[in-house]
């Protein structure tokens, strides 16, 4: 039995002749907040999709709570306790904010508890005033928050967030940072993000992707001051 909540072992993903992710391993303990960063096309989102069951790895294995989840559907992985937020806000546009969050909560909790949880989550995320609004008419940042609420509502053990701060206002990003730090006290969080100031604010440990492989991994301060990481972000050849 492994001590880790999530373990990715030597994951490789090929699309025809293109190797999007090459032999990447990652381990995460309960209560950790880990960030995945890297330039565009580095393989972060592909790696994220392998963890969440949207892609089946060409080789390697993903263990969640010690059990292999390779080849399992996203629905089954979500039921096992993984909350997944996609890059583009993925919500039910024709439904109200409350209906969106309620559908997420009621999957995991009995209806009376789900209603309470729904109110609690909307309040914490700051979208209670939008409860009766149709999600389709909301701004991009607000839709991001609604999706985040649907991810959190079922009380997952691990939350995977793909660019959660994209399209948010400065104030919303600040609130999101506080929320993620708070969430990491009760569950584990993996964040894929581009916004370096946001990463600096929340990250404790970071993995940097470059050209489908792990370039650097370690505590946030150490990684962010690494010359190779700067070179990668500036498009320079890595030494």
């Amino acid at each position: 039995m492994t001590d880790y909540l999530l373990e990715a072992r030597n994951l490789t993903m090929r699309f025809g002749g293109v190797v999007a992710v090459r032999d990447v391993s990652l381990s995460l303990r309960e209560g950790e907040l880990h960030c995945l960063i890297g330039p565009n096309g580095a393989g972060k989102s592909t790696f994220f999709r392998m963890l969440s069951g949207q892609y089946r790895p060409t080789s390697g294995e993903v263990l969640f709570r010690g059990q292999s989840i390779n080849g399992q559907s996203s629905a089954k992985i979500a039921r096992a306790g993984m909350g997944i937020k996609t890059q583009v806000p993925s919500v039910f546009n024709a439904m109200t904010v409350r209906e969106n969050v309620m559908l997420a909560a009621v999957r995991a909790l009995p209806p009376n508890l789900a209603r309470r949880r729904c109110d609690e989550v909307m309040k914490r995320i700051g979208i209670s005033h939008l409860a009766a609004e149709k999600v389709g008419i909301l701004a991009h940042g607000q839709r991001q928050l609604v999706e985040l609420a649907t991810v959190i509502a079922p009380r997952p053990a691990l939350i995977l967030l793909d660019e959660p701060a994209a399209g948010m206002t400065g104030e919303e990003v600040e609130g999101l940072g506080d929320l993620l730090v708070e969430l990491a006290r009760s569950c584990s969080v993996i964040v894929v993000e581009h916004d370096m100031s946001f990463i600096r604010r929340i990250a404790r440990s970071i993995t940097v992707f470059n050209q489908g492989s792990v370039l650097v991994e370690g505590p946030a301060d150490q990684v962010l001051s690494d010359q190779r990481v700067r070179d990668v972000y500036l498009g320079r050849e890595v030494a």
Binding site: S90, F92, L103, E133
Partner: protein, 352 residues
């Protein structure tokens, strides 16, 4: 904000109750046999329209195969009634057969993760295969127990449902049965959509990936609603068999396409709209037929024009158009509200 007493939704509900009361109490007492016979057929088709409105408008599943389950329901009823004699049992079993067939076909389609286009093609092909198959069963060897399938002629000896004393129902009774069945089917669909299951079905239409990422096995919900709609189409087939008799035309492409036209014209995403469009367009087709204007007013050609007109000019369909018209009229009648702050006005406008 307090909801006004008179809304378009409430007016619509009152109109539906009045229409149901007229159909149930006034029409049978009038003794107009043409109205009673055509009303029975319209109600059977109305249930068929509801079945597609449910899966396409709310589940996002475009099925060209509802006529397959409509035909299966009708044929299963005729074959079972001729063999077992008890028409009530035959009717109930026929609905189950149609639902089971929908479940079997749905299993392969949804577990095979077929895309929308392939799903449409497969359901269309299913209807056409059944149409071709039934058409060639005219030989005496094509019998199921005591029931001859009859090929192109269908089964003209389809038994009529019996009353509690075992006597066949009169056309007036069949008419009332058809109206009640339509009302109950509508209520069933409304209740279904209000349940947790129904909300998940609507969520699937909205965003299947999100539903999956929330932990819902989308295949199971799609299969559930597809089977229920198959059962409804089967019920429509049983009633149609009692109004006319079963024939291969129940599976035909004309019936399949008419069904799509009703849903589009009535309003995709509504339940009452497709039923309303079904009644209006059937009555319109029947009226066109009485003009004897030859090919220039061929009902199928006119239906095509009606569809084109609606897709281009009124893509939302009749019911949403009536609702918005009614809302505007009600807003005009209401006392003007005190001038709102510019920001508030904008929020209100967006929310609408």
């Amino acid at each position: 904000m307090k909801t006004p007493l008179v809304t378009s939704g409430r007016l619509g509900a009152v109109a539906m109750i009045l229409a149901a009361a007229w159909a149930l109490f006034i029409v049978p007492s009038g003794g107009d046999m043409t109205l009673i016979l055509s009303g029975s057929i319209y109600c059977a088709f109305g249930i068929l329209a509801l079945s597609l409105a449910l899966i396409w408008g709310f589940g996002g599943i475009l099925s060209f195969g509802q006529t397959a389950f409509f035909g299966i329901g009708g044929y299963a009823y005729a074959v079972l009634a001729l063999n077992i004699g008890n028409t009530t049992t035959a009717a109930l079993l026929a609905i189950l057969v149609a639902a089971a067939m929908a479940a079997a076909i749905g299993y392969f389609m949804f577990w095979g993760r077929l895309g929308d286009v392939y799903l449409g093609v497969i359901t269309l092909v299913l209807s056409l295969i059944l149409y071709r198959f039934i058409n060639q069963t005219s030989g005496s060897e094509w019998k199921i127990g005591k029931a001859p399938l009859g090929g192109f002629n269908g089964i003209p000896s389809t038994p009529i449902l019996n009353d509690l004393d075992g006597n066949p129902l009169w056309p007036e009774d069949i008419y009332v049965l058809c109206v009640v069945a339509l009302i109950l089917s509508y209520i069933l669909c409304r209740l279904l959509l209000a349940t947790y299951f129904g909300r998940v079905v609507v969520a699937l239409r909205e965003n299947e990936l999100r539903a999956e990422l929330l932990g819902y096995d989308t295949r199971l919900y799609k299969l559930g609603v597809f089977s229920i709609a198959g059962g409804l189409a089967g019920l429509a087939g049983v009633l149609f068999a009692n109004c006319v008799f079963v024939s291969p035309n129940m599976f035909s492409l004309t019936t399949s396409s008419q069904l799509l036209v009703w849903v589009i014209v009535g309003g995709l995403g509504t339940l009452a709209g497709p039923v309303m469009a079904c009644f209006l367009l059937l009555a319109f087709s029947a009226w066109l037929g009485t003009l004897n204007a030859g090919v220039w007013l061929d009902p199928n050609l006119v239906m095509g024009l009606v569809l084109t007109l609606f897709v281009l000019v009124l893509p939302k369909g009749i019911l949403p158009l009536m609702r918005s018209g009614c809302d505007r009229a009600l807003a005009a009648f209401r006392r003007p509200a005190p001038a709102a702050e510019p920001g508030e006005a904008m929020i209100g406008e967006e929310a609408r």
